[in-house]
Amino acid sequence: MPELATAVRELTFGEAIKEAIAEEMRRDPKVVLMGEDVAEAGTTFKVLTGLVDEFGKDRIIDTPISEAGFTGIGVGAAMTGMRPIVDIMFGDFLMIIMDQVANQAAKIHYMSGGKWKVPLVIRATMGATRRSAAQHSQSLHAWPSHIPGLKVVVPSTPYDAKGLFKAAVREDNPVVVFEHKISYRKVKGQVPDEDYVIPLGVADVKRQGRDITLIALSSMVQVALGAAKMLEEVGISAEVVDPRTTWPLDEKTLVESVKKTSRCIVIDEGYFRYGVTGELASIIQEQAFFDLDGPVRRLGAMHVPIPFSPSLEDATVPTERQVFDLARQMVNR
């Protein structure tokens, strides 16, 4: 943690991301960022406001609305000496660039027998409840996690976001960073004004507990922490563990927590079916089976296209109440 000389400020999640990008761009002139409306507009979420003033339009690069086109440029530039960050405004647009990500970036190192490297960062957003409907609200981090050759970062706090993003920029592999749209302004936290990186593949215990482990990612970490507080009031001690990256995955920390508590709920904002919760639950059951009191349970986004109407959309995302009810039922207290 920070030394005395280091200023620790409270930043929003979005401010922490911007600080990470700015610091990496100051450190390494080969880092550039390209995407739609990233320069003067500072992205549609205003997360990058001001960066173009410091780094200029040669390094904060506005592109045409051609996600596959500029991601392809990112792949080629990454192979030939640059460290590009490509900005995919909504994670839903990952579908548009999937050939560049999954068939090109992910496989080039392997297909070339380890000769070419692709130090590319793809920053994308995730998260529902912005009333943006089915094509602007999905949490698709399971998709790149499925592809060998990619690394996938899903930060939940400003501190993690800064440290993980900086690590992603310094990676010699393609990394997809999922930033939660609601967290940009809503989630605040202590962030040191210093250069630190958080290695990819190290989970973080966000809250210690004895009775049940809540494994949660991205926005669901706040949900799990809220539920843990409610559980505490009824005498249940919940541990909250955040994997922080879906690949590489810190299986050890997750499994050790569950071995200690003997109960586990996995909570994620991605679609429930064939997703991150299924993968994590199977790992826990394979490695902690004889320490479990009962089946690992899962909470995820409903298996429906994200609806527009607030009353419908709110029903699709796991809530503190759902986590609380399920945990209470499992602990039976």
Partner: protein, 330 residues
Amino acid sequence: MSTATRKAPSQIPTDTLLRLYRQMVAIRLFEERVNDLYTRALMPGLAHLYIGEEAIAVGVCEALRKDDYITSTHRGHGHCLAKGASPDLMFAELLGKEAGYCKGKGGSMHIADPATGNLGANAIVGGSAGIATGAAYASKYLKQDRVAVCFFGEGALGQGLLYEEFNLAQLWKLPVIFACENNGYNEYTHFSESTAGDVIARAQAFGIATETIDGQNVREVYTVASKFVDRARRGEGPAFLQFKTYRYHGHHVGDIARAYYRPKAEEQEWVTQRDPITLHGQWMMDNGVADRAALDAIQQELIAQMDAAVEFAVNAPYPDPSKVDQDIYA
């Protein structure tokens, strides 16, 4: 054809003329051995032969520096060899051997070699358009003076990514050459059945410099490619070059019964009248650059080299299965 070319004596130096010939023969001999290895079941997977199209890879790559970049295609052996790949390591890769360019992990459709600026052959049609344009972008940003050539067949004209890269390349004045090898057939379909409008007009719509070139005339390919490569290197932007050519064999080695999609007479006409090696050899003899004996000597030397390369690859060991999960991450 040959009458037309004889009218204009070439400004190309003699050693370059001979190298163009030599490189084309090398690719032809390489591919004939691929055909042989494949039909003898020594080569796994698929083999897409470049025979008939040699003048394009050779003429374009002759216009490049060693540190310039190329991206290649599923029909890519010719591009890789023309850019400087070594036949023994190529054959080893094609046979899935540890000694191959990619340790046997890429195979015929994924030859890559940083030492010769080969960013990789690509098995997604049009899939490398972004990579080539990105390399050109990096060259410009890093002030490296390098040019990137994106080779692709006319089948890639059906892919949307290509047009996004046309737009970005011209918008940002990137040193990338889009080299379209139009061999007339998208796999088993004549390109007229898949391509609306005029091919060249597509690139012209973006303001990109274009030219259509006889892809069987290696001197013309080299001369025109040099002009546009130099132009790109000067920072004057990308070019789209359409090379009219023909693949003598099928889409892949197993594509034998082809009469349903192209007539035998058409194949025969290209093979007997428009072969790039025969045409260039004849031109050199007619113009006193080389005699038959000199051309035969080149061929004999290359045959020995290619046979040795095949022998090396056939005898090379396969990778140990324990290496299957290496090189996933850097």
